[in-house]
Symmetry: C2
Subunit: 405 residues, 2 copies
């Protein structure tokens, strides 16, 4: 199947408009803090949320609103997570009410999300005050929406692809913010995907739930699962393909396009992890099971020791072996090979569980690049998995030592 | 039961001598790198080891040597973990052989451990060359042994207590190095406890296995379980008490003394965590089960976000709630209270899952101390647990960004 990257983010698929503004939740006036995505038509919708037992109030409201399988708009604020505070659910519901008041989309078809510090009251006032401007500016503004949901993100994260399903050209686009499902600052991972492919809510949920296992769940910035993680896909059906209602070739085409979006976003999220200077990708091959492959890959990118070594461009592969050993996967330590790879070349550091002689100079050069692959071959099966993370830096500590004040 | 702290470390109990020297494994000549603890008599012994599937070669040899329940000496080197290298088991066995050659203690009664970088060959030469000096200096030298097992530890860690069992005064002492069961630098947690209490190997193992669940397993510096963790207790029986062979009052007295040792060591290990400026103690009360209490306490001290906030003296209690939420414990978020406490006072920050107004000035003062208690009341049961950790600092990243080279 041909998959082509296109511009436009969440507005690339037919029927979607977006905008983002500064309404005043944040004190810093150059930082946008309110985003809106609206579809011309009612969409089929599917969501997945954080597994944290402490859940943001917006999640409770969104769950209720999408329970019927439909949604038509997304409203998101940054600067406050609307979590562990008084009256959070009521505020989230009022945000949906404002969308209805200003756009005509019923409040019960609105996905609502918040991101920022938790435990502080969220005032409706700036949001209500900003709605007229927000709605007036709705258009091909995925840029503004992507910017308005950022917290400590340093770059906007959006992407779009076109693909073919049922003989029709379909589009899928997304905006997201991080900097991880494993959240660096309680500011949570949010991702909103739009598509004009016609696909039933059931198949959309199936695609989403399957995809998240190999995309967002394989991403770690700091192993802290946030309270507000929300990953939502809305399908307008305006591409005109016959609706996808079963796991056929069209469904597989859609899943492939969705995975292209989520994988690209995982890489963007990891590369922009708080304080990060490097994207770390761990590719595990030869595992006994898919679960083992995933456990191993995730353990390696999650290890503070591996992350600190990558920051220092130090080929301390023993830490990779250590992480594999405590990952929970069934591994045979004597069958493990490890290679570090980047655009500057590659260096084999461990074969059959033992160190191999390597040039420290080459290793330093390979590890000094901005994208590092840690390639692990377990040698006791044929399953593979990839996980994404970033290095651990002084700036991570700096950002998080004084995030709130 | 009266428990009195005494001096002497591992040499406080009757029958134990120790020493530590620089033999040349480390390049830095002022750093000791070889330790020996020897008992006058054969001891009952019990050990617990890392759960990491990648295990240091010395662990394989120690396991074999203590399988019969007896040991009489401990030899430990720092500077090299003797793990994931060629011939590691043979080297570890030769280290035991050197102990036999120089002290007469049979090689099969020697506990052997190594700590340092993994994946590098360990040469027997400096060890063999140092044995004569090491043995000649055996005596009341717990200080030297504690120093010789240090890696990035900044202080020696030893302690001893006297207690009463079977009407006799018994003593228990220990040396250990860190800086965590959850290891900061692949350098591993090692702890060696001596006692002159008479206690069977079976009861010793039972006491050790029970204690580790509430002591070392509740400690985290960076969530990286090392490959070489070894926790060993040797009992000489020279105190003359009737041997403890069942779970009676004497056994409980011994367990209490053992827990005093391990708790003190956990605090020392956490306070000296790599780069740490603060000891973090999380006390959880009101949990539905002991397992839940432990999961919660451990999750809080393990969270990089909580650790970074503590470094910055930032009362970002939302991160504590977040960690409780993903800990895996069954909690009711709306029943959680959180108080930060230190020698400078206390500040309540969260009641029934909601933020309470507090003075930022007071919070800053409380959190600026070197020991911080995070007191969590879950409000859905009556189980308690305590976990220990440290803050996450620039120095942690610095130390681990360039540990190997």
């Amino acid at each position: 199947m041909k998959l082509t990257e296109i511009s436009g983010g969440v507005c690339a698929p037919k029927g979607f408009k977006a905008n983002g503004i500064h309404c005043g939740i944040r004190k810093n006036k150059i930082k946008k803090d309110l985003a809106l995505i609206v579809s011309d038509v009612r969409c089929n919708v599917a969501c997945v949320y954080t597994t944290n037992l402490v859940k943001g109030a917006p999640i409770l409201v969104t769950k209720k609103n999408v329970a019927d399988g439909y949604a038509q708009a997304v409203i998101v604020n940054s600067g406050n997570a609307n979590t562990c505070n008084e009256g959070g659910v009521e505020i989230a519901e009022k945000m949906c009410g404002l969308v209805e008041q200003y756009t005509g989309v019923p409040a019960g078809d609105v996905v609502v999300a918040s991101t920022g510090v938790i435990g502080q009251p969220l005032s409706l006032e700036p949001i209500a005050g900003g709605m007229a401007d927000l709605v007036a500016g709705l258009g091909d503004n995925s840029d503004a929406a992507a910017e308005a949901i950022m917290t400590t993100d340093t770059v906007r994260k959006q992407i779009a692809f076109s693909f073919t399903a049922g003989g029709r050209t379909c589009r899928i686009g997304a905006v997201c913010k991080g900097v991880g499902m494993i959240c660096p600052n309680m500011a949570t991972m949010l991702m909103f995907v739009t598509t004009d492919a016609a696909i039933s809510s059931e198949m959309l949920q199936r695609a989403l739930s399957a995809d998240v296992k190999k995309s967002l769940n394989m991403l770690s910035v700091d192993r802290d699962t946030s309270t507000n993680d929300t990953f939502c896909v809305m399908a307008s059906g305006l591409a005109g393909n016959r609706q996808i209602t079963k796991p056929d070739a069209d469904y597989r085409a859609f899943c492939k396009a969705l995975n292209a979006v989520t994988t690209a976003m995982c890489r963007k999220l990891a590369a922009d992890g708080e304080g990060a200077t490097k994207l770390i990708e761990c590719r595990v091959r030869g595992a006994k099971s898919l679960k083992d492959a995933r456990l191993c890959a995730k353990a390696v990118v999650s290890s503070d020791l591996v992350k600190a070594a990558m920051f220092g461009s130090d080929a301390n592969w023993g830490r990779v072996l250590c992480a594999l050993g405590y990952s929970g996967a069934k591994i045979d330590p004597d069958a493990v090979d490890v290679v570090f790879r980047s655009s500057a070349g590659e260096v084999e550091v461990c074969r059959q569980g033992r160190g191999v002689a390597f040039s420290e100079e080459t290793a330093k050069r390979v590890l000094s690049e901005q994208e590092i692959d840690i390639c692990v071959t377990l040698g006791n099966g044929h399953y593979c998995a990839t996980a994404w993370g970033c290095d651990l830096t002084y700036d991570y500590v700096k950002i998080n030592g004084d995030y709130r004040t």
